[in-house]
Structures are given as C-alpha cells and as structure tokens.
Symmetry: C2
Subunit: 534 residues, 2 copies
Amino acid sequence: MNLHGKNFIGNELTTGTGQALRPVSPLNSEPLEPGFAQAGLADVDAAMERAAAAFAIYRQTSPEQRAEFLEKIAEEIMVVGDDLINRAHAETGLPLARLTSERGRTVNQLKLFAEVAREGSWVDARIDPALPDRQPIPRPDLRRMLVPIGPVVVFGSSNFPLAFSVAGGDTASALATGNPVVVKAHRGHPGTSELVASAIVRAADTCGMPAGVFSMLHGEGAKMGVALVKHPHARAVGFTGSRSGGRALFDAAAARPEPIPVFAEMSSLNPVFVLPGALRERGAQIAEGLKASFTLGVGQFCTKPGLVFGLSGESLVQFQQTLARLVETSPPATMLHAGICESYHTGLKQSKAVEGVSLLAQTQQDADPKQTHGEPVVLRTDVKNFLKQPRLAEEVFGPFTLVVAGQSLDELEEVARRLEGQLTATLHANAEDLKDAGRLVAILREKAGRLIVNGFPTGVEVSHAMQHGGPFPATTDARFTSVGTAALLRFVRPVCYQSFPEALLPEELRNQNSRGIWRMVNGQLSKADVPAAK
Amino acid sequence: MNLHGKNFIGNELTTGTGQALRPVSPLNSEPLEPGFAQAGLADVDAAMERAAAAFAIYRQTSPEQRAEFLEKIAEEIMVVGDDLINRAHAETGLPLARLTSERGRTVNQLKLFAEVAREGSWVDARIDPALPDRQPIPRPDLRRMLVPIGPVVVFGSSNFPLAFSVAGGDTASALATGNPVVVKAHRGHPGTSELVASAIVRAADTCGMPAGVFSMLHGEGAKMGVALVKHPHARAVGFTGSRSGGRALFDAAAARPEPIPVFAEMSSLNPVFVLPGALRERGAQIAEGLKASFTLGVGQFCTKPGLVFGLSGESLVQFQQTLARLVETSPPATMLHAGICESYHTGLKQSKAVEGVSLLAQTQQDADPKQTHGEPVVLRTDVKNFLKQPRLAEEVFGPFTLVVAGQSLDELEEVARRLEGQLTATLHANAEDLKDAGRLVAILREKAGRLIVNGFPTGVEVSHAMQHGGPFPATTDARFTSVGTAALLRFVRPVCYQSFPEALLPEELRNQNSRGIWRMVNGQLSKADVPAAK
C-alpha cells in the first residue's frame, strides 16, 4: 500500500511543518513507514478557512445529496479493502477480526445516518401558522427547524481507529447534518487515518461536494488540537479520549471570545452492582461475563466495567474464586500503543499501592514489553475503604477491574450516591433482588447515561434509542450522545422563520410537506400539508 | 400589601446576612418599603441542599402532578391580584397595562407548559426492542427518554419582572420537567418577586410538593449569584441580563470541577435590513413600525431593533425624515431603574462621540432624572464607518437605534457577514427585493435565532415554533430557546435503559403506551403499544 504521509486540506496535500510523526507498531515495537507530516498553524488556518468556505455551499445541499455522500464514503472505505484492516492491525495491534467488525460498524453507521438524513424528520420542524384575527394581537406565522452549526473539529480516538476516528460517529453526525469536518488524526494510527481520509476525499469529489467539506491534519502535541478548537471558524468539537485531554479542550473552547460546545467523552468506571440473589444463583456465570467484558479489546473500551460491587459472604467468595481462575488463564495482549500501555501499568501500580487493596488475581503468563502487552488484573477492597481512597474511583484504562465488597444494600446505595458521572451503570439482579432495587436504580439514573440489567456495558449498539454520554467526567455534556442516531443532534441549532414568504422558506417548512417528514403543527405531530393562509 | 422582605428557603423564611437591600422606585426616585434581607452563603447552601433533597422526590412525581402544580402557581399568581401589578409598577416603572398583559403571558406560559408536560411526548421516548436472533450478535432491548437534570438556578431579569423572573419561562421550564428551582430575585423588583414566590410556595404546599422544590434569595452583588452557580448541587443555570453578567456566570459554571450548562440570554442588536423596493414603497410605514418597536417598553427589550440598514438615496432620506419627526414628538419615559438609565446615557454618549456618527433625531421633550427618564434617540452613520467602529456594534439598552446607510446590496451582505450573533434579524422587502434576498437570508441565518420578514422583532410569541436564542453573544447556547415550549428541553438529559424488566421502567417506556405519547419505535414515530418479547 502506498501512503503519502501528508495532511489533507480539502483535496490538497500539505507537508506541514516538515517535522515527521513516526508511528510505531505496538505488535513488535518496530517503526512503521512512512513518516507523517505534522501540521502547523498555517495548516490549521487553511483547513478552517476551507471549511468555512465549504460550509456556505454544503449547508445548502439537499438531504438526498448528503445521504449519497455518506453512502459513497462507506463504499469508498470498503474499496480500500484489506489494506485498511492490515494497516490498522499494524498500527493498533487490534486483531483482524475485531477490525473487520469495526469496519462493518463504521460503514453501517454511515449508512444509517444517511437514512436518517434522507428521511428528514430529525430537523424537528415546527409550524405555528399565523392567527391574524387573534385578540388582543395577531400571531405571526412561525416556522422553526434545526440547521447546521458550522465547521466541526473532530479528534480521532485511539481505541476505535475506524468507528470513532476519521469517518466515525462524530464525522458522520456532522456531515449528515450539513457541517464540514476538520479531523485531527490520532497519532497512534496515522496510516489508517490517511486511508480513510482518502476515501472521504474521493467520495466528496465523486459527489461534487465542496473540497473543504473535509480536511485532516496530523500532529502529536496538544498545541495543534488547541489551535483547531480556538480557531474563529470552529463551531463545535467532538473528542473521545482522556479526562485531562477532554477537559483541556473543553476549557479552551469555553475561554474563547465566542464559546463553542465540546462533546468530549472521557472517563468512566462503569460500575456493576451484583445483588445478592443474582450472586447466589448465577455467580459463576456473572464472573465469566465480567471477565469477558473487562478484558474485551484488552480493556480498552470506554464502557469497560472497572468496578464491581457485591455483598460480602459465601457467594462473593465463590464469585471471586471463579473470577480469579478465569483471569489467571487469560493471556496478556497487545495494547494500542506504548503510551497507553505505560499509563496502564502506572495506574495498576498506583491502585495496588492503595492501602486496604489486595490482589485478587492476575494472569499467570508473562507480559512481553516488546509486544506492548497489558495483562489482566483484578484487585479487591471493601466499600468503606473505597470511599476513603479517591484513587480507586479513577479510571484505569486497560484489562483491570476492582471488586468491592459491601456489608449491606444501604452501603451499596451510599457508594452509588458518591460516584462521579458514568457512561453506564449495571445491575445484576434476580426477581427477588429487583423488588428492592428501585432506589438503587433511581440513584444510578442520576449518575449514568445508560443503565443495564443483567448484561454488561461493553457493546454499544448504534441505534435510535442508544445513549452514550453521561454526567461529567463521563462526558462534558450529558445532554447529548456520541453513539446512535441522536448523535446528529449535537451539531445543529434551531432557527425560527417569522412571516416568511414560501419561496424563501426551507423545503421542510413550506405549506406543502413535499419531503413527507413529521412536523409539529400547532403542537400536533403530523405529516399533512399546512393549508395556505387566506 | 404586607411584604416581609425575607428569603424563601423552601417554605421557611430567613433574614440572611442581616444586610438590607432597599429598592427605589424609578417613578420618583423615592425608596420603597420594606428592606429586603440579603441572603448569605449559608442561605445559598441551605437552598441548594433543600433543592437536592427535593429533587429525589420531585423527579418521581407524575406529569399530571407537575401539570397541576404549574396550573396552581398560575392560579395563585392571579389570586395576588392588583397588589402584584401595583407593586411591579412602583418597582419597575412599567405601565399598569403592560404589566397586566405581562402577567397574562406569565400565567398562560405556566398553563401551556403544564399542557405540554401532561401530554408528555416531549420526553422523546425511543424504543429499540431486542433482536435476540440477530447475527452475528443479538441486539439488547434499548429504551431511552429525557429525564430531569437536577436543581436549576434561575436569575430573575429586570426587564420582565413577571415573564422572565420568579415564575417566568426558566422556572416554568425547570418545574415542568421535574427540576427544583432556586431563584435569585432581581434587586430591582424584590417586592414583586416576594409576591410571586409566595404564590409558588402556596401552590407547592397545596399540591403536596416537597418544600425545597422552590427557593428564592435576595442579593445585590455578583457574589451570591456566583456562589449559587458554583454550588455542587446546581445542575443548570438560566439567566437573562447583561453580556458581562451572563459571561461571568458562564465562566464560573465552565470552571467548576464538574461544568454545568448556562443558558444566558445577553446581548443583541437585532439588525433590520430595509431593502430598496420596500424602502421606496413603504418607507413611511416602516419608519412608524420601527419607531414603535425601538421605543416599546422604553427600548428595554432584548429584541429591540438597535441597527437599521438601508441603501443611500432619496428613499432613505425620506425615511429618515419621517423617523426623525416621529422621534422628536416621542416622549421620554421611566426606565427600569437608575442603573439601567445611567448605562443608557453612558452608552448614548459613547455612541454619539464616535467619529462619523451624527444625530438624526431625539425627543424634543426634556427628560426628568427624578423620573429615571430615558429619551428616544436616533443616530446615523454609514456602513464603511460602522465597520471601522466596533463601539457601534455594542448593544445600547434603551430607546435608541442607529440608522446605517450602505452603497450597495453587496455592502449590506458584507456588514451582515461581520455581525456578531443576534437573537433576531429582520428583512423589509417587497416582491422584487425578495428575488435577490436569498444570499442575505443565508448569511443572516448563521447570525440569528429568528429571522423576520416585513415585521419587527419585538413581540416574542410563546408557542411551539418560537426560537429565542442565537449565536454568542445573543445567548451562551444557540442550541436552545428560552421562550416557547422547546424551552423545556434545556433542563433534561437522555437516559437509556438496557434490558430492563417492565416493572422497573418509567411508564413512558413500557410496552403498553398507557400515556398515549408519541414514541420512536425502531426509528418510526408511533403511539402504538410495543409487543411483549417472546
């Protein structure tokens, strides 16, 4: 495969600062070719200027045109073929099967968002026709819908090199709703990023989209990312990564002369509460499910269950024994890059050193640093100690979980009340447990964006009802989701047209509902036409 | 009327710091009785603790209970009767007729929001039933809806002592969606605030609501307001006021360990573009409408048209002559308080002193400082000068507008492109003008939340299709509205329930659609029940 290692400013390629970013394969710690040209501030400015110019055109494209564009991107990604999977494997160490399925998810997500754009009801059209005879004053004609917000800056994530990266959910959401995108490629997989960026640029070209609708820059420090967020043309930011990284971008965006929204998905421990009946009846099965979930993808999921609460007793002892046995035979595996692997080992070391924490189990196979190995580990403590040790409530990204023993349901509720915001919270419960679980569910609802009964939090469905976003620090804005079709709503804002002549109204708001979308007319949902004013 | 001058911490009254806030009537510059007890940090803490405790109960109330509560508040406000109107008149100088109509708006708004809460579809329920047989992996059952966010801090505005104050749109939105409210009363109308707060407390009591569902504190500096925003239990903020005040609250909220959203409505010039055909055909009529709009409420509306653009020529000369004649005979009138009046005169003075600006007209009657008078004034300049002088793009709150002459439509488009964010933008155009107006409309759509053709921006309808909110600095979050039924969406967030047993699901998400709301099932809107899983 031929990689040029350049930045994409629309359909032009630049060599940026001349400094190269050199990826290293986590599989063998060997460097990968080529070097990638790190973008400079001039590239940031050029990409954002192009995006702003493209916005004036792109925002006027029809839903059908945008849908075709998204579908074409999906098609072009598939055209890249095995090169994409192989390169992503070399750059991230993720298994080929996983990457193949992640590509499927990415492509299906583009197609689903295309479908939603084409259907069109997402614009939340609302029409309150004029009431010229109303007393004491007439009501003017009012028509409101969602419109694109402007250029969106997307930061590719490390752990989903396809589904949350260059053509991932943020990019798909922004493009589906009429916004240009400027991606900062993740330094961990620049070649994968280039292949996907090329696919997008080809699709934009085929579909006659303005070139600046998409740009992608390489870089490794925080400087270029912050420059993108602070650029006057930036209108919103999508980010998946660390708490410190997300917070820095949020702070930069909030400090702008004109603040802009940041959708950062950052940090979550995804607590699992195993209630007594479930622990007694299905302890071994839950241990198996937990082990599979916290080691999935070498624990590098934002929804990895990193905290497991249960009540002390014989059932918990057996559960822990089962879990320990499973973990001891679970092999170390290659993590995404050396930095993540190092952070994992630092986090583990710190957690192990916390007073009142002991090792429950770890893999019995040696980890190979050259293969950037992360090894499965389970620690344990009790609720009283957990509440005293804030370190234990910090995310450790990797194949690690902490089992926390409580003395009573009250104690579990108390610990739930004191948790920070989470992406998910999970309950394992039998029918008997569920009778008393209402209060715990009510507490957890304030803490998390997704609540799960008798399942595990890994595996995030891309559908209409998904919510992937929770109170801080899980995300910077719990009111929105970064997965599922509601993710489109992040990059839009409402505009009301008052007393507009039909010809100047967007198609969605004209009397004749030619797009056949759902509209709220006088407060009632309807697909009917609106009668013309007399 | 008997006023106690105390703070409301739920249904308890406190005397705060012991320092009194003493309102002064703008009608005659005389002090009004009684003094109002300024709240201290202990009151802030007590109110927020009560709100958090109330939230655990209030969030579980049914839509019907919340609707009845809102309706009861409306009823209790009417029970206060003329005392409310008279006190508001004494405190704000607003005419009795205006206050009576504002009370009507406030009460109708509470009733409308009650109706929306009762109907219930606003929760945006989405159900993706399980697909147990899907390949390669099953889909779990996913059900998502909007839930309340938690205690909301509301800052009463000065210019709408009823409709944007203690029981105004922010409070109504928060209560309708299940959130307790802590109001900081505006120092300009503490007695009016007390009367309305008493009405809310009586309604809460009658409806059996938890006492901390509503609190109200008095204070005059920024300190107490910032303490409310920074309180750990605060979950969102509603504010209407100055750009500096809104920005300070936004910055405080963004700097919290756990940032929270701020909906601040701040500053808008509401530009009016009078296109050549309209100017020629209806210049005199537009001048009349403009004069009525910019002097309405002594120019103290956030939607006051403060900028008017037209093309140089005979029609503009005639338009200016008509406008001048109208303004010269338009009397000075009492502004809301001495501070606003002083700011108005400072702003006027600064604008008059700008190079290239000249006086077009001002009232020929003397302003009386004792009556806190603001006098109608129109200045004029040209587009080239306007673009050079940033001072002219700052809001002057009061009965003032600036007429700006351009040389060409291109010049008008250029100035539109360079405007900051606005609540509204208006076009006066005849059929001929409209043919060329598409580009100007497209530019203005990026700048404003509401676009008006052949009308004036003052007069904000409380309906489903209203959008009152625009790009910064008009508001801090252009994605939401503070007027109309979509205002409810500010204080909620989505939660997804995965694989939940029916009994633990909120009523809105159960298979049987007992509430009869619109729900998105597998992506399709429907009021049907969902078949039970096999």
